[in-house]
Amino acid sequence: MDTPTLKKKLGLKERYAAMTRGLGWETTYQPMDKVFPYDRYEGIKIHDWDKWVDPFRLTMDAYWKYQGEKEKKLYAVIDAFTQNNAFLGVTDARYINALKLFLQGVTPLEYLAHRGFAHVGRHFTGEGARVACQMQSIDELRHYQTETHALSTYNKFFNGLHHSNHWFDRVWYLSVPKSFFEDAYSSGPFEFLTAVSFSFEYVLTNLLFVPFMSGAAYNGDMSTVTFGFSAQSDESRHMTLGIECIKFMLEQDPGNVPIVQGWIDKWFWRGYRLLTLVAMMMDYMQPKRVMSWREAWEMYAEQNGGALFKDLARYGIREPKGWKDACEGKDHISHQAWATFYSFNAAAPFHTWMPQDDEMAWLSAKYPESFDTLYRPRFEYWREQADKGNRFYVKTLPMLCQTCQVPMLFTEPGDATKIGARESTYLGNKFHFCSDHCKGIFDHEPQKYVQAWLPVHQIYQGNCFKPGVDPTAEGFDPLAAVLDYYEVEPGRDAMDFEGSEDQKNFAAWRGQATRN
């Protein structure tokens, strides 16, 4: 009798080929260019889509299996955290403001990334790229959901977490992340991948999800560290997609090189500006600090990004245009951003504060070349004034950069005492920028950036008041009307941490948790 022999299982490489190749076909009822209208018009030339390989060789079946495992682990932690009121174990209630900013500014980006990848996953003609984009689209939706779920426990107890989708479309500083993503997903599919997968995910995302999440662990926030690392494990796949996409474009046709370099220049700078928020979260909003923004920048951008651009040099790719200015900014941007939010905190739905003495000492040690000379004197003065009951709030509106939409708070390269400002004229109108690089991005595609929805302009044009509000009425308070339109309650959601409801509640509840 014959012994039945088991067919040998396919190896990883064969399995990947079997599950990603031959899934597409040439259309016959309609011309290919009509079915896939976007994958050529950017000028990127692809000769052989089969050269696209996902280095992880992850197939859909393995994807579901491992994602399922990650979810089970994550939700077990979230459940335990919620069930045991573990939010009472975070360092202090100031920390929760970093989570508010995360939920307001980062989580909605996950949803936009989900839509963006679903779109490009539909529009590439190569199957390998389509499969990878579809997985990423599902990942991004997962991140939106897990972040919302993980942070919902805080929303039961603290202000400023209840209305983030509404705020994302309206509040001034949230137009920074929003416009970043709208810029990316209104471009073509190859530019989108260069923007999000390469420049943002590969070069910059470690700065958000690694030291910041490790910081969450350090501050006793088990729920956030777990969703952060769980999301970042997907990011490693996304980063791999990003570098694969870049290599693929560069290897397919020499004519692609200048186009890709232009996108790298643009999107590195766009991403860097966006990460200003993260710099501030790391240096000012985590009471216990793992590493400074400067150290994280050196580890993940300068060393790791440096290695990457050294590697890409063989294709004729150089480091992004704004690289040197970004490296210089590591000593400044977190302090400049925190000063700005502290000043405009009457209109921002999270709390700010001036650093305590030990925190000032930490900042001095981490920023020996900038903190004591440029920022400490200002912060000490503000703290002194606040102690005397003169906590000030700026009630006018800042000028915004037309490209990155960040208020014009950054200083000139080489002179950190002078605010940077640039101008361009287009169709008879004058436009303002924070830097050479934001101006360069505008000048390359002015017809796109003149359409920017700039919150400050919109407020001055009267588009950010509730229906029926009369700005000509006597005693009209524009800030109050804008906050009403935002649905931000000034004393609860915004303004200084000192004296806030969050501060009082946390102190009372923590007291109850340790005494009878």
């Binding site: 491992y66 990650k70 350090y218």
Partner: protein
Amino acid sequence: MSNVFIAFQANEESRPIVEAILADNPDAVAVESPGMVKIDAPGQLTIRRQTIEELTGARFDLQQLHVTLITLSGHIDEDDDQFTLSWKH
């Protein structure tokens, strides 16, 4: 030669992976931060399935790395027996 790196959540599932990496890559250095461990290595780093299996006595599929992986850098070369990060081509 530039460094490559890989980072994992610090837990019981990643422990044998980290131990295997340190055993197989003498130049690799592990740096612990709250909640995570990051391993840097000059030029190249290899994870071998067999080493992990010898440590745990259980079968291991290298794609299980995804469950505790946080981040990495370098080009990936993966098959059923090994997972290598390097800046080589």
